[in-house]
Assembly symmetry: C2
């Protein structure tokens, strides 16, 4: 089994959307990613939580086979985030951010993690992402996610870590901002020249685009009747994407493998948005994933 290591935030989120609200629910990039990728392979989580982190959440992560040797429980409170979505679910306001124990997070990989063939650097400070990369003892297939904050305050470190990874996940506004252009196509070309072999531009309810050399693959979102809460969709997408790749021969990955990874990422994100927090992400079965994969292929293929 091709093991994945994920480094990222662990949070207790309070989220309000037009369809309801949920307080202090399990969230954070490494949580969404690992619960998504755990449907595909063994996932090792590196992160930090406070002593207030509920035992039920730990039990949940363990129930899905997530390796928690890299999870540090520190004196203090868990990272907390509060947000409210506007009516179209595409825009959200951050109501508060309490970094708490996450503020001094110094990721340290257990020895058993350091030779993992796949590494996902979730959205944390690029300096920390670099630290993690340096702890790896092989050359894992490495993917990176980031956010506008790091483009604003830590651009050089971000460009440095981007230059060292194979796959970059970034949303459409961020890639425009990173490259100083309103054209996604122009921005994508520039970023592909800066290091990553594969670039995934996330577009929320409009799906995602995969760029590789001069190739472009465009994927719509899976149509969902009622989107309840999109928080974590990007990380669940990345979890399905990297999870699918983990089932392939990493030495011989083809563009078709990456296109299928887009399909699996899209499907995992589609489950995530149907409920608050990780409710649906964890309850999904292998059969329901496969069913949506087939549906989605029919919805996008001409033949």
């Amino acid at each position: 089994m091709t093991q994945i290591v994920v480094v990222g935030s662990i949070a207790l989120d309070s989220v309000e959307t037009p369809l309801g609200r949920r307080d202090n629910a399990l969230g954070g990039s490494s949580t969404y990613f690992s619960l998504s990728s755990s449907h595909y392979t063994k996932t090792c989580l590196v992160g930090v939580a406070g002593t207030d982190f509920p035992k039920s959440a730990l039990d949940l992560l363990q129930k899905y086979g997530i390796d928690l040797e890299g999870l540090e429980i520190k004196d203090g409170k868990t990272f907390r985030w509060g947000g409210r979505y506007k009516s179209n679910m595409n825009k959200r306001d951050t109501l508060y951010t309490e970094l708490n124990v996450f503020e001094n997070f110094q990721p340290s990989l257990p020895p058993a993690y350091r030779k993992s063939p796949i590494l996902f650097l979730g959205n944390i400070h690029p300096e920390l992402q670099l630290q993690v990369l340096h702890q790896m003892e092989n050359h894992p297939l490495t993917a990176l996610d980031t956010m506008n904050l790091w483009i604003d305050i830590s651009r050089d470190s971000l460009l440095d870590v981007i230059s060292k990874v194979d796959i970059l996940f970034i949303n459409e506004d961020e890639i425009r901002q990173l490259n100083g252009t309103s054209s996604i196509l122009t921005a994508a070309k520039k970023t592909l020249q800066s290091g990553p072999q594969f670039l995934i531009v996330k577009r929320g309810e409009n799906g995602a685009m995969l760029f590789h050399k001069d190739k472009l693959f465009i994927m719509p979102a899976y149509p969902i009747e009622n989107v309840v809460d999109p928080t974590g969709a990007g990380d669940s997408f990345a979890g399905g994407f990297m999870g699918y790749l983990s089932t392939r021969n990493l030495k011989e990955l083809s563009l078709k493998d990456y296109k299928n990874a887009m399909v699996h990422g899209t499907v995992m994100a589609s489950f995530l948005v149907e409920t608050f927090s990780t409710d649906r992400l964890v309850s999904v079965t292998r059969e329901s994933i496969q069913h949506r994969v087939q549906n989605l292929l029919e919805m996008i293929c001409v033949d």
Copy 2:
């Protein structure tokens, strides 16, 4: 050759977008549609223009083989529209609408048009669309486009004509409005029950969706580096869509034919948006259409 009849507006548009402006340029739904479909088959235009309609515009339509027997030139001025697009090109303000000779348009089909196998009812008053339908002497494959104005002021007639057509083109906001729901999926189901066999929901820069029975096909827009002017994109899409269908055996149209029609509609719309007015739409060659069709298929297909 399978002849298409199109009924719709003929306009002189003044359009301002973030990339420039153009005054009194050739526009109108039947114009965009016919210049698009003329790349596929003979197209017969039914519409009205004023005595101010430039000879150069008539020459252009004729140069592309468009049959103008159904074009009426009436004393008075041509329909004029002025609009301004916001920075993201998805929203526009109407600056003025002068109906002029279009106000009393009473479409009358020349006898040679009345047995055409394909009919496109462009966006005009649903009562006029019904009148045109009644003038047909066979049962043509009929498609309809509409707009929010008719949902507001002529809902019953609109529902009547929708119930009588095979294919409905409508944008995402309009289908929500028509069915009183924010969910496109729910709205599409309801509309499919009201008559049309095929429903195309247009989503601007996010592409279009094709609904048929319980099937859904999702098509992204063709990525264009610099969108200059999206005015007429929907009609150019419909022109490529119906134009492609005209090249197939109408008695044996399959879902795959309709999916390919989505591809061709998307490609024709992608040419249209690259310039103001119809500049690029008319200059496009068979080879460049085929080239983009191949590109687009690669961008959406997993295999």
